[in-house]
Symmetry: C2
Subunit: 380 residues, 2 copies
Amino acid sequence: MWSAQDIQMMARAIQLAKRGRFTTAPNPNVGCVLTVNDEIVGEGFHIQAGGPHAEVHALRMAGDKSRGATAYVTLEPCSHYGRTPPCAKGLIEAGVARVVVAMTDPNPQVAGRGINMLKDAGIEVQTGLLEVDARALNPGFLTRMETGLPFVTVKVAASLDGKTALSNGVSKWITGPQARADVQRLRARHPALVTGIETILADNPTLNVRFDELGSVVAETGVLDESNVQQPLRVVLDSSARLTAEQASNLFGFASPILLVSTLAYSDAQLAAFPEHVETLVLAAKDGRVDLAALLAELGKRVNAVLVEAGATLAGAFVAADLVDELVLYQAPKLLGSHGRNMLVLPDWQTMDSIPAMTLCDERKIGSDRRYIFSLRRAD
Amino acid sequence: MWSAQDIQMMARAIQLAKRGRFTTAPNPNVGCVLTVNDEIVGEGFHIQAGGPHAEVHALRMAGDKSRGATAYVTLEPCSHYGRTPPCAKGLIEAGVARVVVAMTDPNPQVAGRGINMLKDAGIEVQTGLLEVDARALNPGFLTRMETGLPFVTVKVAASLDGKTALSNGVSKWITGPQARADVQRLRARHPALVTGIETILADNPTLNVRFDELGSVVAETGVLDESNVQQPLRVVLDSSARLTAEQASNLFGFASPILLVSTLAYSDAQLAAFPEHVETLVLAAKDGRVDLAALLAELGKRVNAVLVEAGATLAGAFVAADLVDELVLYQAPKLLGSHGRNMLVLPDWQTMDSIPAMTLCDERKIGSDRRYIFSLRRAD
């Protein structure tokens, strides 16, 4: 069904789409390639919400050459008027003859409408080419569209024997500078970070994205710069509403949105000391702490994806509650010893059937450490 | 100094040497290639102690063509009459014109004698080509020759979070069948295994090499078969001399040598029930257990290398006492949880400077698991 040319062009569209991975949120990453007689006449990707969609970039580049062209698009062209006119209309007006779509729109209310618009205009439309790869471009967008919940990634940095620190808490540095820079890239791709008050009290972290540490990906995208790098919503779980402005001086000192989530209301005195970019939210308790499922339902109203960068108790609680889509483990080639602190506080499982099902999705060397990405969703 | 031809031929000699890795103990692995005008006229490797050395195999294959040849040998040719005549003499008599040696004999009492014999006969001799690779052929032989102690490898199979079992001891299986077959190959390369009585009591293991599970390496060596596969000396640490023949029925039931090491003597009743292939040895105690340094000094009289396949307490004690040369870690992509059993019982280190220095030497995927090989010797 698909020619080598088709596969090659869609692969290129997917590569293009990836260049937007730090900047398109909350929109999905989309790439588009236009060809005439197997030659690329236009290409582009969605860079930023509010800006042109991938198809628009490609059509602009192609100009008159789009007449009779084949368009390869990683996601079904949109059919509605938003901040930009519908891309299906743009493709029709440009005289494109054939459209190959990697995946249809995941929103059941609009899925197929863009394709129908194209077909009604007499354009040949084919779908499903490299769909798995196209889906992998937008796990957060798809998960939230399909479930209403954000895609949840837990990040852990540990030794070979699964420890994050010695028994006395000494931990600097388990992993090397390259792995720490990779964490900056991970943060930069996430619209929200979740941590716990214990991490704030222990480390007084800022939890921002440090643009200077993003490294070569900035040049690779060709579009990421200090002005459009996205700072994640910083979510701090503070069940008992204990946090004071003094304790969170670095967190509060960086002026981008913070969401403090508790099960009790903060006092007026606390609130008065919080800067304007701090929002508070009271959620239901479960076992005396913020109900993590309720938290994700709430965050699902705001963002596509959440990165949990927390201590072993909170990160373990997400895993134990089966709320995690992906585990990113940075593993340093060291032994911290059996007295060291465990990387995740998890239940006392009694059978091998109880342990989480994990599928290794990616592994690579990062400096002297290794990074593993596991999917924690059971295959259907 | 070295031509591409030299490097290629020595690399081939090293590859040949490896084919003896399951069969030459206690002798080192040695390979030899003979060339005339850049053509290989003879080659061979040492297969088995008591059998011909690598040079003899190569000279036999070359026959008259060895006159004027260059010989590439991974270890300095021997100069003494043992079970076979000296190889230096054989090379001289065959009329070899040039000998390239990867490394000299590590025994300081004989080092250089073979080379001097060759030089005295007017043969051009060069040394040091691919020496690092040649040394890696025989870590046990070299360590024992240089220190009197065996090379010590600790094998561990654990989850990503550094656990070997759930809290209740359930552990079958952490790693997959390919990793378990690899352990058979690891055993088959070791002249001695060390374990503790707790492992015997818990699992009643046989601790033999199961030839059927060695897999494709049997064909790769071309010389390994059921008749020459070497069964390791099975060393069991039983500090309090508690073990009975009933408890070790599988261990004792396999008729190859066993060494029971304790700090107290076994009773006559115990000894009477032990089969003939069981030897007992009383060693000094340290902290109420067999002194591991004394154990290695004793094993250094017998074998080049020791594989520690023990529980977390004994394996950890070897690491903590800084007696380990190499850690082989089979890591399964699973989380057993923070209540699981730690892979190594280690001291409660208080600073990052206290943790063992480890250098990653090799890592590869084995089935769905990963195998890491770390050197635990600090670089000089």
